[in-house]
């Protein structure tokens, strides 16, 4: 489904991602872990096409479509979704309107008919309940005055409504208490249907107790330096990223 090959990303004249290769099949959940500054968020931004995240080399395709060639909104319509680490507050634009325009835009881009207001309202309410946000949040400005946890749940609500085929969750667990973490994890697990895939970016093993990944990758200095099953996350948790650095050094010495 998603194929990333030898991706290099430059941000403000710094090479952040330096040859990343990753392949994700339908229905798979991949966790990407790694220390701060490894390039985890950059990967999400580069794939979704944020300004200033320049791909200098390599390719990324989603179901055969060259993502890097598309406008930001067209990548979304192709089925890509990024749950932001820091969701943006937009006062004056109601959450409901934002969600409706998002869903309508994507449906239009895919040649589908727009949902009627009543059908949409029903779905929005269901999604809102699913992430345990009061319905009043649909009427409030987008993320306006939401707590950290509410913002993260609002991201999951958008994901539920937009039904993307590949979701990138950028530290959707950070700043959450255990109850909010469970709600976020349940929101994601509810979307797993054997077809839709996920990249879960996280610092901590904690989230992976609730979302069982198929693969765990360790990203350090812009490259995936180790991949494995869920047990790799446990190992990281136990030994910390310092262990990684020695691993990395050993690997480099071995290569030399």
């Amino acid at each position: 489904m998603l194929k990333i090959n030898n991706l290099h990303v430059n941000v403000a004249n710094n090479d952040i991602i330096k040859g990343l290769t990753l392949s994700i099949k339908p229905g798979e959940v991949h966790a990407i872990m790694g220390p701060t500054g490894a390039g985890k968020s950059t990967l999400g931004y580069a794939l979704t096409g944020r300004d200033g995240y320049q791909v200098t080399q390599g390719s990324a395709t989603l179901n055969g479509t060259d993502l890097l060639d598309l406008e930001v909104e067209d990548r979304a319509a192709a089925g890509l979704f990024l749950a932001f680490q820091y969701p943006v507050e937009i006062p004056g634009v109601s959450n409901m309107e934002f969600l409706k325009v998002s869903v309508d835009s994507q449906r239009k881009a895919r040649g589908q008919e727009a949902l009627s207001s009543s059908v949409f309202l029903k779905r929005a309410k269901a999604a809102c309940k699913q992430v345990n946000l009061p319905l009043a949040f649909l009427k409030r400005g987008v993320n306006e005055g939401f707590s950290g946890g509410e913002k993260k749940r609002n991201e999951i609500m958008q994901m539920i409504l937009l039904e993307p085929i590949l979701s990138i969750l950028d530290e959707s667990d950070s700043g959450l208490d255990i109850d909010a973490l469970k709600i976020v994890a349940e929101g994601i697990n509810g979307q797993r249907d054997g077809q839709r895939s996920f990249i879960v970016i996280t610092h901590y093993q904690r989230l992976l107790d609730y979302i069982k990944p198929d693969f765990v990758h360790v990203l350090a200095d812009g490259k995936i330096i180790k991949s494995g099953g869920p047990e790799l996350a446990l190992e990281l948790e136990a030994q910390g990223y310092a262990w990684l650095e020695s691993y990395d050094r050993n690997a480099q010495e071995a290569n030399a």
């Binding site: 979704t48 096409g49 944020r50 300004d51 406008e71 930001v72 909104e73 990548r75 979304a76 319509a77 979704f81 990024l82 932001f84 969701p87 943006v88 937009i90 006062p91 004056g92 634009v93 309107e97 934002f98 325009v101 998002s102 869903v103 835009s105 994507q106 881009a109 400005g141 958008q158 937009l162």
Partner: protein
Amino acid sequence: MSNWLAETIRQAEKIDDWLSPKRAQSLSLLKSTAWPTRQTEAWKYTPINVIERAVFKSANDPQIPTEQNSCSQIPNLQAIELIFFDGIFDRNASTQQLPDGLTISSLSEGADLSWALSSFNQTKPKHHFFGLINDTLATQGCIIDVAEDQCIQQPIHIAQSFSLGSQSHTRILVRVGKRAKVTVIEQLQGDQLSFNTSFAEYQIADHAYLEHYRLAMQCEQAISVGGCHFHLSTTSQLNSNLIGFGSQLSRIDMDIIHTGEQSNAKANVIYLLDGKEVFDLHSAIEHTVPNGVSEQNIRCIVADRANAIFNGRIHIHRNAQKILAAMNNRNLLLSDNAQINTKPELEIYADDVRCAHSATIAEIDDEAMFYLQSRGISRGDAQVLLSFGFINELVDQMNNAAIAQWLRPILRQRFAKMGLR
């Protein structure tokens, strides 16, 4: 002296009514005032030469009202209607039955109201050039008196529309009695090239509350100069909302004068300009006594080659301690050729006050833009949503739901049009 001004003075000299003593003072001032130019600070960015260039019918020349030139209806407003066509009060089209405690008189019918005579020019600055013109020429308008302790449930809607080539001058005098409560909506609509001056003076007595709207939504060609001037007494409250659309020239002067302690004034201003439209807001807030609160939010979006001007002054007098004053001017530029001139001025002579001002000019926030696009929303649609949100924040704060509901689709349409260029 310009021909236009000479003709204006000739006309003014012919007027003889109950306001004549006041008019005479203004007329003599007008005769000694020079036509403002770009060198005149208060009119620096205001292209008033368009008034001289255009040809208008003589002032307050009655027109036959047609369907096209009446103001757009505001659904569900359920207001007390005061209708003006080309500056002439239409008594038949206006509401006849008034609730208890409310008296409305036509200015032209020469009401013998000593309070109205003494409040004429009480809050409006004396030397405003077009204010002087309005003083001398405005024979039409209305006088609204809300008796003490009266809470008028229905809003009072003063709807003025202007037809092609018309010239009109109207004056509104309002007195809100002690502990009274009322909403006044001034709607001005010129769908074609027309010229109007409309000045309104409000006296808000102790403990009284005024909710005010000025909807100056004109077409691209209209020319409108006017003012809203508020006099606040002890513990009185003002909540004012001003919406400005276009016009080849629209100038509004807003004065808020706090003369009693614990008075509270809030003014939200929205203007949206496209094409070559010019909108100029000059506001002055005077805190002459301690313990007052004032808050102003001015939001403006300019597209194409439009020009937005804001000059905001807060003046805190000596001994006017414990004042809380905030002035916030935010502008959004949608085009390289659009222009914004903003000038906040604070003049503070008391030493224990909290006074904040900010003025920003920005393009659309990149982060918010990316957020919307990442959800599949096109750049154009996102721009409309974000611009609308920037303004809608202030619409959300309006107490009158009918006006807010009526405004939202109008603003949305306007953005969609502005975004296309």
